[in-house]
């Protein structure tokens, strides 16, 4: 029962954040580019996401005649499903006491938490691949293949960047990893494992196909990549999957590298409502960084992208693992 409540709560919160995120992104980008952005629907345009949702919901379903109909319909569902699967094991705040019981805002506290996330992200390849193939169009197919190859490549760096963190904490459980960073900001893995954090952030950006790694949907070459043929709700679902993934990696980065709900300064409290505050601030910061990148950087070329992933990120991550392992063995950290 409690689990069901948590599911509803976390889901509702995430959907709200997703909606806000689309609005915030457009507004912030607009400010960065000296524009106004959506400001008509509601105060400051805050109802814009709702308006968009309604519009997309009532649009006509279009399925291309040559498409493989079932796969075409299944692809966005797969995308959203894999995105949603990952959020179940993430903790969203410090443990707190309510109604005389200890609670943790987390649906399932798995012993293999980090591994599970790795497994689920590896499933994320299917959405783009299926969408790209089933649309039966060369743009979507190329977009899908690019997307999956990119995800493949950066998943490795992503996974390797966690290994150092896991070794230091001695556990796959995300809660343990967060607790291991208690103390001060100098105990955060973003400081202790700086190379891993950099690798993680870059690989995460690529994993969710954000600029400068948004090649799968590079509109100048591939129209809109794997979702060229999608419209109405199916398109909205892809958008939703993308933003959910973004939130997932932001939350995961906060948990693994930025000390989770810990304030980072010993004299500032990090339990209870404070913890939620810190946590939200950190997640917001990471999300803002994603938007900021989009407003700042141009897109990679495809070979640069692959070369960077395989020849820079993965070696750096491996070296970091070696160094961490040596430190763990030698100094018994």
């Amino acid at each position: 029962m409690a689990a069901a409540v948590k599911v509803v709560l976390i889901f509702a919160a995430l959907l709200t954040v997703f909606a806000l995120m689309t609005w915030a992104e457009r507004r912030l980008l607009a400010f960065m580019q000296f524009r106004l952005g959506p400001n008509r629907a509601g105060p400051l345009g805050i109802l814009q996401p709702a308006a968009d949702g309604i519009k997309l919901f009532f649009k006509e379903e279009v399925v291309p005649a040559a498409a493989n109909r079932w796969v075409f319909l299944a692809a966005p569902v797969v995308s959203v499903a894999t995105a949603v699967l990952a959020i179940g094991v993430l903790p969203y705040g410090p443990p707190f006491t309510l109604f005389g019981r200890q609670w943790q805002l987390q649906i399932a506290d798995l012993g293999v938490g980090v591994l599970y996330i790795f497994a689920v992200t590896s499933l994320g390849v299917y959405g783009p691949v299926l969408a790209g193939w089933s649309s039966n169009s060369k743009y979507t197919l190329l977009g899908g293949l690019r997307s999956s190859a990119q995800m493949f490549s950066y998943e490795l760096a992503l996974g390797l960047s966690w290994v150092g963190v896991i070794m230091l904490a001695g556990s796959f459980r995300i809660g343990d990893i967060v607790d291991h960073q208690a103390g001060g900001f100098w105990c955060w893995n973003a400081v202790v494992q700086l190379p891993a954090f950099i690798v993680y952030f870059v690989a995460a950006t690529a994993e969710v196909s954000r600029i400068p790694f948004d090649l799968p949907e590079g509109e100048t070459e591939l129209v809109a990549g794997f979702h060229t043929e999608y419209s109405s709700m199916k398109f909205a679902m892809f958008q939703m999957a993308e933003y959910l993934n973004m939130i997932t990696v932001a939350v995961l980065g906060t948990d693994l590298f930025l000390g989770g709900w810990h304030s980072g300064l010993p004299f500032l409290p990090s339990s209870g409502i404070w913890g939620f505050g810190w946590f939200a601030a950190k997640v917001g910061l990471v999300l803002f960084a994603f938007i900021w990148l989009r407003g700042t950087l141009p897109r990679f070329r495809y070979d640069q992208l692959m070369g960077f992933g395989w020849k820079v990120l993965i070696p750096v991550a491996v070296l970091n693992i070696l160094a961490t392992a040596a430190a763990v063995v030698l100094f018994g950290l």
Partner: protein
Amino acid sequence: MIDAILFYVFAALALGSALVVIGQRHAIYSAFALIVTLCSLSAIYGLLGSPFIAVLQLVVYAGAIMVLFLFVIMLLNVGREEREGGERSGLKIAAGILTGVLLLQAGAVLLQAVVAPAPGFDASTHKMAQDLFSPRYLYAFEATSILILASIVGAVALAKKDL
């Protein structure tokens, strides 16, 4: 209780989609069905108290091997299986009979097996790591890394257009 229900649901899903795998003439549908089977098996591993293997099943099979299959299917643009040439029905009948015999034999073996779950079972990642890196399996473990390396090189060499 809920575990048992989940098990039978996933078992039915696994078996059903396995049948789809071999009943299909389109390779791509077979692949989809196989993915469903693999994911269901992952869930069953989880229900059998083996989270590490469950996750590995997802990472390796669903996340890597099947994507590879899909890639190849798309790359070669595999369509419907063609029925040309001899049917070789003799082979199929023999295979069916032998499979039946094997089924009976294996069933006989399995029925004799001790299948009551052992108490105090712990297959956590920690325990698995202790076992895998123990002297007993360490060499085999390292050997697998060589195997993987060899297969990478082999795959690249084989699939390359002009060496």
